[in-house]
Amino acid sequence: MSDLRLMGVSKRFGGKDVLMPMDMLVTNGAFVSLLGPSGCGKTTLLRLIAGLETPSSGQIVLGNTTLYGPGVNIPPEKRRFGMVFQSYAVWPHMNVFENVEYPLKVRGMARPERRERVMKTLALVHMEGLTDRYPHQLSGGQQQRAALARGLVMEPPVLLLDEPLSNLDARLRAEMRREIRDLHRSLGITILYVTHDQREAFEMATRIVIINEGRIEQEGGPGEIRENPTPGFVSEFLSHV
């Protein structure tokens, strides 16, 4: 199926190794969380996968398609991932419906079909009543839901989320954690989720990859990591709740 595979992917920037060469496998249907302190390279890794940055080496393969590799570098618009940004990035000049409709419109889907898909997706995130609202008329949480719907609407092979909850208050964060987890279960989609918040990772993910200073420190299921954290960075990091 469409497993996402990284082989020896690294990133150097300004003479500094932001990411050391790393391998990673995101199996189809998994909820993988990239967890680590800020500046550890986890967001860079997500952006390399999305195609927003170019790796310095390695290969990125989705299913049977090479996204990045020797002589291949598929631009982000052709990679078909859904992506949710930390700042939401809902377009202020489009209303909720138009924001969510955009990926379908760009890909040339017919209007009636588009409408149906958009409404279905908005229902998933409980936003069906707010289609005509513009971003400035929405709360932060509602903007985040709109961004989530926009990422989901084209039913991407992998949904990429970059610290999506870090700008929300604690109560809303708890609510959204539950909802994202439920969406993962009910839709069976593959999720790659970047966060610095252990709670988000351990509550939602089926697999956690802990990154520090551009290296993978440990990866495994949440239970596995909690019970057997590798000594050094991981035990230290997990002890700060």
């Binding site: 967001t43 952006r47 999305a50 195609g51 927003l52 940055e53 170019t54 570098n73 631009p75 982000p76 618009e77 052709k78 990679r79 078909r80 991932f81 859904g82 992506m83 940004f85 930390q86 700042s87 939401y88 990035a89 809902v90 377009w91 202020p92 000049h93 955009y102 990926p103 760009v106 890909r107 971003p135 400035h136 961004a147 926009r150 084209m154 990429l160």
Partner: protein, 514 residues
């Protein structure tokens, strides 16, 4: 109806030419500025950081120097590349569009570049991951969000061209194509009170046009501010650059070629012309320093150099010094009067120099008449030129320093006050050292345009009042091309050095309080 010495049809023709020239320059600058801003902020064009600074350099170059360089290149008789121009060479409307655009493109470029830099890159990245290619992203996201700074930049280009005198004087007047500023100049040159009145009436017409465009520009700045919150990024990430892929090499070459066309080619043309024994002879074996030597020994040049230094250095120092105190009163002492004064300085800054000069000439005749009645006289045109420079450029330092005072934590001042510092000691020992870099930058940004000023000086000059700009203008008018080129080359080199150090900083950005 507009002027005594000039027919209505001539006025209407000049007005139409001013407006159409400004409009065409605004459109050309908008398109090129937009492309340049996108390339340096959003694409992987080669040397984008160097280009980003270099593209802003024309902003600090007096356009008339480039005009002279283009005459060397496109003069119909001996121009180095005259074959590339239509009959008549560089002279005429197309030449004015070309030369004005090479400078005016910096306004939309800088406005839009700042817009791209402030905008949250995720807004565009979200469109890319949604499946939109670079052009679609620009059309659907960047342009709808960034049109106010783009159009505002185009308004500034329009205003710049409308107010400019040097380029239309050098490239339009020889073929009797007048715009408002050059028509005012020619009316004024007729002399006497009739000429002054005629110039004054035309100036008011020019002023009205300028103020209309300025009002539009101010509205756009307001709109930008209100929208700003919605699109300003937390700058969590560098923008993911659009890969130009196969187009990267040709696009990079084209971008550098444009820079060469705008700055390096005119500089080289002036250098060649300055070294040539006679106009139109470009063989390196015949190079001579005679022209440079001639110009440097010219008594007019020496007088002008002394005058320009004596005008720009003290006037800039006075203007920056008073701006330093005024901004202190406005920001740190909450003086309403000072704040109003700083704000009102924006008016002369945006007023065409020609208008300021004509108003001052009017004031000068009135003052000398009044002085004459009590047996005094004020003969030196330098006094009025100094006043014109001070009025025109006082806004730059006052606004820069106001912004700088606001950025400093008040507790630094309060600690000194508690320690017993009086206002004077406070300014000398705390504020001046803290703001010294801004003060220096403000001083350069004030002194440089004064040093090479032409538009106002050419109207206000008189016996004993020659400046570098006016001497150069005369050399050009007398068709002494090698000498004119030699002087222009010296001035352009000085302006380029200044522009290189000040690149990226500019008055409008500061005037808008960003």
């Amino acid at each position: 109806m507009f002027a005594d010495g000039v027919s209505n049809s001539a006025v209407i023709e000049a007005l139409a030419r001013s407006l159409s020239l400004s409009l065409v320059v605004a459109l050309v600058s908008g398109a090129t500025g937009c492309l340049a801003a996108w390339l340096v902020t959003r694409s992987d064009v080669g040397g984008s950081r160097a280009l980003a600074g270099l593209f802003s350099m024309p902003y600090a170059i007096p356009a008339y120097l480039l005009g002279m360089a283009w005459i060397v290149l496109g003069n119909p008789a001996v121009g180095a590349i005259r074959e590339l121009f239509p009959e008549g060479g560089i002279y005429g409307f197309h030449g004015m569009v070309l030369v004005e655009s090479t400078v005016a493109f910096a306004f939309p470029y800088l406005e839009l570049k700042a817009g791209f830099e402030r905008m949250d890159p995720s807004l565009e990245e979200a469109a890319r991951t949604s499946g939109a290619g670079p052009w679609r992203v620009f059309r659907d996201v960047s342009f709808p969000l960034l049109w106010p700074p783009l159009v505002n930049g185009m308004c500034l280009s329009f205003l710049y061209t409308l107010s400019s005198f040097g380029v239309p004087a050098m490239l339009g007047m020889p073929v009797r194509q007048f715009v408002l500023t050059t028509l005012i100049y020619s009316q004024f040159k007729l002399g006497g009170m009739a000429g002054i009145w005629s110039g004054l009436r035309l100036s008011l017409l020019l002023l009205v046009m300028a103020m209309l465009v300025l009002a539009l520009s101010n509205r756009l700045v307001g709109l930008q501010r209100r929208r700003g919150g919605a699109i300003t990024g937390s700058r969590v990430s560098r923008p993911g650059l659009v890969r130009l892929s196969g187009a990267r090499v040709p696009v990079t070459a084209a971008a550098w070629a444009v820079f060469a066309l705008v700055v390096a080619l005119p500089w080289g043309a002036l250098a060649f012309s300055a070294l040539a024994p006679v106009a139109g002879s470009y063989s390196p074996s015949e190079w001579t320093l005679r022209n440079l030597e001639y110009v440097l020994n010219l008594p007019e040049f020496r007088e002008a150099l002394v005058n320009s230094l004596a005008l720009s250095l003290p006037v800039a120092t006075f203007v920056v010094g008073s701006g330093f105190v005024l901004a202190f009163a406005a920001v740190r002492r909450g003086s309403r009067l000072a704040a109003r004064l700083v704000e009102s300085m924006g008016v002369p800054f945006s007023t065409p120099g020609t208008v300021i000069a004509i108003l001052l000439i009017f004031a000068a005749t009135w003052v000398s008449a009044a002085l004459g009645r009590v047996g005094l006289s004020l003969d030196s045109p330098l006094v009025w030129i100094a006043l014109a420079y001070a009025v025109k450029y006082c806004a730059v330092s006052a606004r820069m320093l106001t912004a700088a005072y606001r950025q400093v934590d008040p507790s630094l001042e309060e600690a000194a006050v508690v320690s017993g510092a009086t206002t004077f000691i406070l300014l000398r020992t705390i504020w001046f050292p803290l703001l010294s870099r801004t003060v220096l930058a403000a001083w350069f940004l004030t002194a440089l345009p004064m040093f090479t000023e032409l538009t106002m000086s050419v109207l206000l000059t008189g016996p004993g009042g020659a400046t570098l700009g006016t001497v150069l203008f005369q050399l050009q008018e007398y068709a002494d091309q090698p000498s004119a080129a030699a002087l222009a080359w010296i001035l352009l080199s000085a302006a380029l050095v200044g522009a290189f150090f000040m690149r990226g900083r500019r008055a409008e950005e500061i005037l808008e309080g960003r």
